[in-house]
């Protein structure tokens, strides 16, 4: 079994901590083979969740879902964090070749180019209250379950937004 944790002088007179990937000797592995290196910047998730959508109405009826100025309370922070948003839905049972009614994310939303306004997700951070205010709009394309409401998922990272 190889050594995987190194605490102390990790090389070049630098003191810190390194943890290698399974099967890799922490003393000889290169940077890409490390799970953790105290010399390297990293990112962590400080909060995640999902927001239920409502019917957007309009010309596309119930096939378009939205989030309108929903507030998310974040933990107290002294800066605006980096945030990622996208939609979560389920596969359409009528589509062949993929699991029926399985949960899936929509990384770039519906892709339907002719709708107006176009699909989007956006947010703003309110420093005074440490809240995110989220807006979003997305059409259900053929690949998602027309009977599933859809959610907006969010990830809040430890990095500063700028």
């Amino acid at each position: 079994m190889v050594d995987r944790i190194l605490v102390g002088n990790i090389g070049g007179g630098v003191y810190g901590i390194k943890v290698s990937k399974a099967g890799i000797d922490v003393k000889t592995g290169d940077d890409a083979q490390m799970m953790f290196d105290s010399r390297a910047a990293n990112t962590r998730v400080i909060m995640s969740g999902s927001i239920p959508t409502i019917n957007a109405g309009g010309s596309l009826g119930t096939s378009r879902r939205k989030v309108d100025n929903v507030e998310i309370q974040l933990p107290a922070l002294e800066y605006e964090p980096l945030v990622f948003l996208n939609f979560i839905s389920k596969t359409n049972p009528a589509i062949t070749g993929i699991p029926a009614s399985a949960l899936l994310g929509m990384a770039w939303m519906s892709g339907i180019y002719y709708v107006n306004p176009k699909d989007y997700t956006d947010f703003r951070w309110v420093a005074a209250t440490n809240k995110l205010v989220v807006n979003a709009l997305c059409v259900k394309n053929d690949y998602v379950d027309p009977n599933y409401a859809m959610y907006v998922q969010f990830l809040v990272f430890s990095n500063r937004s700028n």
Binding site: R44, S50, T96, A102, A107, Y143
Partner: protein, 145 residues
């Protein structure tokens, strides 16, 4: 030299180089490499694959790419993906792009990513005249929400 590792009741922290870990606060999580109550962005899987041409036959069918995860996570993971532009494509140099849909000489190139609990699902946008799309992906352990 500033102390950088702190382990005590309710706290496990490693600060960035030059930052005194005893002076850190969760109000400033970017000062920390590791801290209690936060999840590191560990990588589950990376790779490169191809989404084949989508034959729009008018029926709701799938013709793209499916990349199976090592196991069913039970939740939808966070995934980053970029299209790989090859040397002979529009911009004449290998590159990566976050753009998921472009028009090149009236041909329509595009792809869409659907991360699932046990696989990545890609499909292309466009008709039979468009080419396959090559993309790379990074799947993180992080639950999307």
């Amino acid at each position: 030299m500033a102390p950088r590792v702190l382990i005590e009741a309710g706290k496990v922290r490693v600060s960035k180089p030059g930052v005194d870990v005893t002076a850190t606060s969760l109000l400033r999580p970017d000062e920390l490499l590791l801290s209690e109550g936060t999840q590191s962005l560990g990588i589950l899987m990376t790779g490169q694959a191809t989404a084949t041409r989508y034959a729009e036959d008018g029926n709701p069918s799938y013709n793209g790419a499916q990349i199976m995860l090592p196991y069913d996570l039970g939740y939808v993971p966070f995934v980053l993906s970029q299209r790989v532009f090859l040397a002979d494509e529009a911009i004449n140099t290998p590159a990566f792009s976050e753009i998921n849909r472009i028009d090149v000489a009236t041909a329509d190139y595009g792809y869409y990513l659907y991360p699932m609990t046990d696989r990545l699902l890609y499909f292309k946008w466009g008709g039979t005249t468009t080419d396959d799309v090559v993309f790379r992906y990074v799947v993180y352990y992080v639950k999307g929400g």
